[in-house]
């Protein structure tokens, strides 16, 4: 099964919306790969550069509440995927974005606010990384020589979708 983890991109704001993740002007692309250069292009956050090395290296995004709100465009998880980011950890997600992530076999992981706050302490570490063990239901956050573990609670259906590699394969087998 797919491995989740690696360097982290911290996006410290609530309500990061799908237009910020991938603006509508790029929805005319008809392959996922063509979306690659436009990741988070319209997101304005202090210290964040959509074209910077942190965005390029990232395999996991950590953010706050209501991540992925707005449009139903699956281009949002796709643009993350084609840039190597296959997991987002946040306090909460908008429903459609969250479902789109699992439908693509990617992970949208919700953690309570106090845990997200703890993970954000690692934002200052230049080597911050996260390992996500879906089966072991555990998240390991590392940075500047320290390490912390967090319990991962994923609904059994979401887990089944991740294991199946997405909803199309799951549905094709079952319905």
């Amino acid at each position: 099964m797919k491995r989740f983890g690696g360097p982290v991109l911290f996006l410290d704001r609530d309500d990061i919306n799908t237009d910020e993740i991938i603006p509508a002007r790029y929805l005319t692309e008809i392959t996922k790969g063509d979306l690659k250069p436009y990741i988070l292009e319209d997101l304005k956050l202090t210290g964040f550069d959509p074209k910077g090395p942190k965005t390029k290296e990232a395999r996991v995004i950590v953010s706050r509440a209501n991540f992925g709100c707005g449009s139903s465009r699956e281009h949002a998880p796709w643009v993350l995927e084609v840039n190597g980011i296959t997991a987002v950890i946040a306090e909460s997600f908008a429903r459609i974005f969250r479902q789109n992530m699992f439908n693509c076999g990617m992970a949208a992981i919700e953690l309570p606010k106090d845990k997200i706050d703890k993970i954000f302490h690692y934002a200052e570490c230049s080597d911050a990384s996260i390992e996500i063990d879906i089966e072991g239901q555990q998240i390991i956050v590392k940075g500047s020589g320290s390490e912390e573990k967090f319990q991962l609670d994923m609904s059994p259906f979401d887990k089944a979708l991740v294991m199946a590699g997405g909803w199309v394969d799951y549905a094709d087998r079952n319905y």
Binding site: D15, N17, D19, E20, P23, A24, R25, L27, T28, E29, I30, T31, K32, D42, K44, A65, N66, C69, G70, S71, S72, R73, E74, P77, S92, F93, A94, R95, I96, Q99, N100, N103, C104, S155, P156, F157, A160, G166, W167, V168, A171, D172, N174, Y175
Partner: protein, 428 residues
């Protein structure tokens, strides 16, 4: 224990519950447009599964960028068009017959109370105005919907919004839903259905109810549901006439979808609309709303009337009642996009289009276009638009542009003054 409308629809359509709380539903309508469907079609083809579960239950429209503006959008349109032909999808709407999906499909009578509806478009919640469970989904859900006629949902809880009181002058369905979103917050209804109830909703036309339901997603809601009553029956009558002996019989049948009196709600919120004032959004989230009086005087570059929120005949009528005999301010570009060809034609025969054009508005063909910054009214960096649309995200109507959401009445007053203006002084 009683059930909500959403729970009744879930029970009736349940195909599987692979895990507790995760429900796979049979779909009554799968709707498709040219932005989110082509990748689903391509994926089905690559899997050797280029087929549809039932071509009579699939509705397709080219609406987001139409007529196509460049070769990329022409390719998207062509993929959808070729697929619709290949699959024998008879309810396919192309240039000349196309309009904004969430205005066009209700108008064609495709939605019924109790239906399950999905589309690869977040504003699919609009169709809940007919007492249906209608939800926006991504391309993968759409793809499975097209192939298998099913979709999985976490069973939603329902938040009941009771709207009572007398709607004051200058206040419309748009102001009411902006107020509700302001109260709930942009994620106040995540994984929930919003149920709009009470005498205010009972007194609303289907056009107004669709405006309410349309913006449920802006509070994070899965669907926005109104109870199907005689207003619903009247709207649908040309399409259901053959199925019922009388309107009373249709109403009786629709009643079965009403939430039971002892249904259990996540939350019940009571709002008296009597003291509401026209509202306008500021900032970049639709829950940031202020009375128009606090934003009055904000200079705008463009006024946009249209979209699945407020591009219907009723919206055009009220805007025209304010614009009649007046000119829009010289600093403003006015754009009217009637939501469907039928709305456009009726607006022509009622003289509404004349009023808009004499006021100085440009009238475009029906399209989603400018609402999401794709065509026919994209903003330049730093420009400000007063819009009857549904989303004010940063750059939504064009990179660096600012959007203030408001009612059609407020947008008409704003167009006349060239700055955000209170519609009440223009209304009788």
């Amino acid at each position: 224990m009683g059930k909500t409308t959403a729970e009744k629809i879930f029970d009736e359509h349940l195909v599987d519950e692979p895990f507790p709380g995760s429900k796979v539903l049979r779909l009554d309508v799968v709707m498709c447009h040219e932005i989110t469907t082509p990748i689903a079609i391509a994926d089905l083809m690559s899997r050797g599964k280029d087929r549809v579960f039932d071509n009579s239950k699939i509705k397709a429209v080219i609406d987001h960028v139409t007529p196509s503006k460049d070769s990329k959008t022409a390719t998207q349109a062509k993929i959808l068009r070729d697929w619709a032909r290949r699959q024998g999808i008879k309810d396919f709407f192309d240039v000349g017959a196309n309009g904004v999906c969430h205005a066009l499909f209700p108008e064609k009578g495709f939605i019924r109370p109790g239906y399950t509806v999905i589309m690869g478009d977040s504003h699919t919640c609009t169709h809940g105005a007919f007492g249906a469970f209608a939800a926006g989904v991504g391309t993968t859900d759409l793809e499975v919907g097209i192939l298998k006629g099913v979709c999985a949902f976490r069973e939603p809880k329902t938040i009941r919004i009771n709207l009572s009181g007398k709607i004051p002058k200058g206040v419309f369905a748009k102001d009411i839903i902006l107020y509700v979103i302001g109260q709930l917050g942009v994620n106040g209804a995540t994984d929930c259905v919003l149920e709009f109830r009470g005498p205010v909703v009972d007194g609303m036309t289907m056009d107004s109810r669709m405006t309410l339901s349309n913006m449920a997603i802006e509070a994070g809601g899965t669907s926005g549901i109104c109870m199907p009553d005689m207003v619903t029956v009247d709207y649908l009558w040309p399409f259901i006439e053959k199925d019922y002996i009388s309107k009373a019989a249709a109403l009786e049948d629709f009643r079965k979808w009403w939430s039971d009196d002892d249904a259990v709600y996540e939350k019940v919120l009571d709002f008296d609309v009597s003291d509401l004032v026209p509202l306008v959004t500021y900032g970049y989230k639709p829950d940031l709303v202020k009375p128009v009086t606090e934003l009055e005087g904000t200079i705008v570059d463009q006024v946009y009337v249209g979209s699945c929120t407020n591009g219907r005949l009723e919206d055009l009528r009220v805007a025209a009642s304010i614009l009649k005999g007046k000119k829009i301010a010289p600093n403003v570009r006015g754009i009217l996009s009637p939501a469907t060809p039928k709305v456009f034609q009726e607006a022509i025969s009622e003289g509404i289009i004349d009023i808009f054009m004499e006021a100085g508005f440009c009238v475009t063909n029906p399209t989603c276009g400018a609402c999401l910054g794709m065509s026919t009214g994209v903003l330049a960096e730093g420009e400000v638009c007063a819009a009857t649309t549904n989303r004010n995200f940063a750059g939504r109507m064009g990179k660096g542009g600012v959007v203030h959401l408001m009612s059609p009445a407020c947008s008409a007053a704003t167009a006349i003054e060239g700055k955000i203006a209170d519609p009440r002084k223009y209304l009788p």
